[in-house]
């Protein structure tokens, strides 16, 4: 074998050729190794789809979309907070009680 020339491109092609013609046993071992490695892949969080986008449009067990449930929950919380606050301010006479006990009621408290 004389006067042969190798360039970077021909070296790459020769090495690629070597990988294409691997013996079947080695190729089979590599396939098994790949499958074994895939079993170790870090799991994707359930709240991200395969594009990494936050998943919101899924349904609950009863077929109601989760976004609808979230809105209902938020509305319920708001209503509950408003009711509690209204009730708390309506029946809060603690300042009047304190004024009576300290004899510090304003003059117009005695006017009917």
């Amino acid at each position: 074998m004389k006067n042969k020339h190798l360039t970077n491109d021909s070296i790459r092609k020769l090495l690629d050729h070597a990988t294409v013609h691997l013996d079947t046993t080695t190729a089979s071992h590599l396939r098994s190794a790949r499958n074994r490695a895939l079993a170790y892949q870090a799991p994707r969080p359930a709240w991200l789809d395969r594009h990494g986008i936050l998943v919101l449009a899924t349904r609950s067990r009863h077929g109601i979309p989760f976004w609808a449930l979230s809105i209902l929950l938020a509305a319920g919380l708001l209503l509950g907070t408003a009711t509690y606050w209204q009730h708390a301010t309506e029946h809060d006479h603690s300042d009047i009680d304190i004024a009576i006990l300290t004899d510090d009621l304003p003059v117009d408290a005695y006017i009917d």
């Binding site: 074998m1 004389k2 006067n3 042969k4 020339h5 190798l6 360039t7 970077n8 491109d9 070296i11 790459r12 020769l14 090495l15 690629d16 050729h17 070597a18 990988t19 294409v20 013609h21 691997l22 013996d23 080695t26 190729a27 071992h29 590599l30 396939r31 190794a33 790949r34 074994r36 490695a37 895939l38 079993a39 170790y40 892949q41 870090a42 799991p43 994707r44 991200l48 395969r50 594009h51 990494g52």
Partner: protein, 192 residues
């Protein structure tokens, strides 16, 4: 974030080249298979949730590190083996059979394929022999630059050295390869 399919496709595309790289480095097909498997597992376990575009660089870094780990373990094992073998009494049956270490010098890692042309097979055998004879860092730099097609910066990142070192390793590798191949009547024309 990559899917299982994307990771599988990537591993399928690199497994053979990775095996050859490891085989050239460690000169042992069984060890090379273990190295490739370990590298694939590390990629899947630690970086399986990364974007698929990041896999090539990550895998190369893992592969080269795993090859280096193999050398370190081999060095330690050889040290202990040498130590204990020098202390143990010699028995005739324990003498190593020279035939066990006889290697096919023309094609150490792959048998000649019947369908490949003789000239191509001879060229490949000569090239592989020359690559295996290179010092580790020179071979690493050469294969990453000219086979894996990484640029200087990417190669430096994988090898954990400066770009200047990469250029030096590549230059020395090219000269060493050219010298070895010249003895077999093959000239190396560097296109750079």
């Amino acid at each position: 974030m990559s899917s299982r399919e994307q990771l599988s496709d990537f591993l399928a595309s690199v497994e053979r080249r990775a095996f050859k790289q490891a085989a050239y480095a460690v000169r042992d097909d069984h060890a090379a298979l273990d190295i490739v498997q370990d590298s694939m597992i590390k990629l899947a376990e630690k970086y399986g949730d990364k974007a698929a575009a990041e896999f090539p660089m990550l895998f190369q870094r893992i592969l080269q590190n795993t090859i280096r780990d193999h050398y370190r373990r081999l060095k330690v094992r050889t040290l202990w083996t040498t130590l204990f073998s020098s202390l143990a009494p010699r028995h005739e049956e324990q003498e190593q059979d020279p035939l066990d270490t006889l290697q096919d010098k023309t094609n150490p890692s792959q048998p000649l394929q019947p369908d490949a042309s003789l000239e191509q097979a001879q060229l490949l055998a000569a090239l592989e022999e020359a690559l295996i004879a290179l010092p580790t860092r020179q071979r690493e730099a050469f294969l990453l630059r000219y086979w894996e097609d990484l640029n200087t910066a990417e190669t430096a990142s994988v090898m954990g050295c400066s770009e200047g070192s990469v250029k030096q390793h590549c230059s020395r590798a090219t000269h060493a390869l050219a010298e070895r191949l010249k003895r077999k009547g093959i000239s190396l024309q560097n296109e750079e």
